[in-house]
C-alpha cells in the first residue's frame, strides 16, 4: 500500500454491525490469493477486497471499475487520483486475457444459486420467454470454467437459494464434474457470503455446506432461508464468522467507507 492518507479516528468501540461482519467474510474469501486480479461485485465485496489488500493480502490487484488497475486503495466511491492513481491499463479486452490465464478471483452476485453453486443472473422462468429478464449470462460461464469464483448474496432467502436455477450461467460443482475431459480442471468454487452466513462446497459430492454463521444467526435460521437441504447445519457445532479486529474496524469506518455505504446494501 502506498499513498493512503492516515485513517481518521473512528469509533471502534461500537459493536460491529452485520454489514461489517459481511465485509470481513468477503475479505477472508481473498485470503491467500496473492498477486491475482480480485473482481468484487457490489459495495460489500468491494470493501472486503480493499480491506484484504490493506491488511493481509497486499499483492491483490484491483481495477478502478473502468479500465485501469489502481496503484493505491482508495475509499469506495472515490475516484483513483493523485497518490491513489492507476498503475496500468486494464481494458475489457485485457480482462479476458486475465480470465483465461486463470489469474483472477471473481466474487459475483447470484439472483439464484443451487446446492452445487450453479448461478443464475440471466432470467427468471423459462429462458425462451422469461417471466423476468435480467442482465444476461455476462462472463459467468467463462469465469467459472477458468478461475476462482465466489458469490455474494445480500438477501439470503428461499427465492435465491433454490432447488434448481432457471438458467445456469456460473457453472456449479455437479456440472463441472460431469465434464469428463480435463477441460474443467480450472473450475474452482470457493465460498458464498450472504447476509446470514458463509457457505462453501465441502459437502458430499461438492454440495453446499455451512461454514460459519454470522454472530446472532442460528444454523436453523440459515436452513430456513435456504430452499434446499444444507449440509453442516445439524450435529456438530457451527463456528461463528470472525469479527473485525479494532484495526480493521478503524480502516473500514474511518477510511474505506466513512459514509456507511455498507449499511445501505443490507438495508
Amino acid at each position: 500500500m502506498s499513498g493512503e492518507s492516515a485513517p481518521t479516528r473512528a469509533d471502534v468501540r461500537r459493536a460491529p454491525t452485520r454489514a461489517e461482519v459481511c465485509v470481513i467474510a468477503c475479505a477472508e474469501a481473498f485470503r491467500g490469493d496473492g498477486e491475482i486480479l480480485a473482481s468484487p461485485f457490489g459495495p460489500i465485496p468491494s470493501l472486503g477486497a480493499r480491506l484484504a489488500r490493506l491488511t493481509f493480502e497486499p499483492d491483490l490487484v484491483l481495477t478502478d471499475g473502468e479500465a485501469a488497475l489502481m496503484v493505491g486503495t482508495p475509499p469506495v466511491g472515490t475516484p483513483p487520483v493523485g497518490a491513489l492513481a492507476v498503475e496500468a491499463p486494464m481494458p475489457y479486452r485485457k480482462i479476458f486475457d486475465v480470465v483465461w490465464s486463470g489469474r483472477r478471483h471473481v466474487m459475483m452476485m447470484a439472483t439464484q444459486i443451487d446446492r452445487y453453486g450453479n448461478q443464475n443472473i440471466s432470467c427468471i422462468g423459462d429462458w425462451a420467454c422469461p417471466r423476468a429478464q435480467l442482465v444476461g449470462v455476462r462472463g459467468a460461464p467463462g469465469n467459472t470454467m477458468n478461475h476462482a469464483t465466489s458469490y455474494w448474496v445480500p438477501r439470503h432467502s428461499p427465492r435465491s437459494f433454490v432447488e434448481r436455477v432457471d438458467m445456469v450461467c456460473g457453472v456449479g460443482s455437479d456440472r463441472a464434474r460431469e465434464i469428463v475431459s480435463p477441460s474443467a480442471r480450472f473450475h474452482d468454487l470457493r465460498v458464498v457470503v450472504t447476509n446470514l452466513a458463509v457457505l462453501d462446497f465441502t459437502g458430499p459430492g461438492g454440495e453446499m455446506s455451512l461454514r460459519s454463521v454470522h454472530p446472532g444467526v442460528t444454523p436453523a435460521e440459515v436452513q430456513k432461508a435456504t430452499g434446499f437441504e444444507l449440509h453442516g447445519c445439524l450435529g456438530s457445532e457451527v463456528p461463528e464468522t470472525r469479527l473485525p479486529t479494532p484495526d480493521e474496524l478503524e480502516l473500514l469506518r474511518g477510511y474505506l467507507d466513512p459514509e456507511g455505504l455498507r449499511e445501505t446494501e443490507l438495508a
Binding site: 479486452r93 479476458f96 449470462v137 459467468a140 467463462g142 438458467m167 450461467c169 457453472v171
Partner: protein
Amino acid sequence: MEDKRESLDDVVSQLRPGMTVGIGGWGSRRKPMAAVRAILRSGVDDLTVVSYGGPDVGLLLAAGRVRKVVFGFVTLDSIALDPWFRAARQAGSIEVMELDEGMLYLGLLAASWRVPFLPTRAGLGSDVMRVNPLLRTVRSPYGVPGEEAEELVAVPALPLDAAFVHVNRADSNGNGQVLGPDPYFDDLFLGAAASRRFMTAEKVVAPGELLDSGPLQSIVVTRLSTDAVVECPLGAHFTSCLPDYGREEDLQRRYVAAAAEETSWASFSARYLDSSEEGYLAAVREDYGAAPAGRGEP
C-alpha cells in the same frame, strides 16, 4: 487518397432488411447512438443485432426493427436493465442468441480472421450450450496418448453484414482514434464485417493530424477496416464518450421512465428521435445547455 467522409443518412441507406448489424461500444458507453437514431429514421427492419448491449439495443427494439439479438448482456450500466429489452424478452417477441461475453469476443475475432470457429472453455457446463443447440464442441488434436484430450467450445464466427462504431477522432482516410480509457471491441466489430464498415466520430480531421490529439497507440482503427467515416458531434450521446463527455444520466433516466407508457414514449420519441440528428442536438442543447457534453458524469 480516397476521402471516406459520407453523410449519416447515406451510410445508413446501405442497410437492407434482414441484415446482421454489429454495434460497437459497451453497455451505455461510447455507443454509436447517432447511427442508431439514423437507423430508426431509415425504416430498415428485420435486423439481427450483435452487441455488448445497451440503449442501442433498446432503441432498435422500441421501434420494432429487430428480429434477433446476439448478446452476452444488455445493460445501461448506471441503470441495471434496459426496459425495451426486458419487455421484448418477456413478451417472447424476438429471437436471441445468448453467449458468454468472452464467446462474443471470440465469435467476432473468428469472423475477422476468416476462420470458422475459435476454441474456449467458456460455455462448457453452462446453459449457454442448452439454449444454443447449434453450438458444437471440438476435441484437441494435441492430446497426450493415453490421456483424455480437452474438449472445448467451438465458438462460431459471427460475420456481420454491417458494423457501426463511434470514436473520439477519425481522419478522412478512415483511421480512428479512441481517447478514452477503453477501446472495447470496436476494431473487431469492424473486422467482422467484410463491407459496410462505418465509423462515426466526434470530429474528423485531415490524415496525419490524429497525432495532434493523442499518441500513436490511441489510433485503434486503421483505414484497412473502414469504408466510410461520418463526423457526428455528440454521436454517442446520451451514452458516455470519455474524455469528450460523460453519460447524460438525466436523459438516460428519462429514456427509461418514458418506456413505461405509450404516451410518454410517444412524446420522448417525438422530441429526441423522430426528426433528425440536428433535431436531437437542438433538443439536447435546450435541455442541458449549449455544451451538454460537459454535464455528464464520467
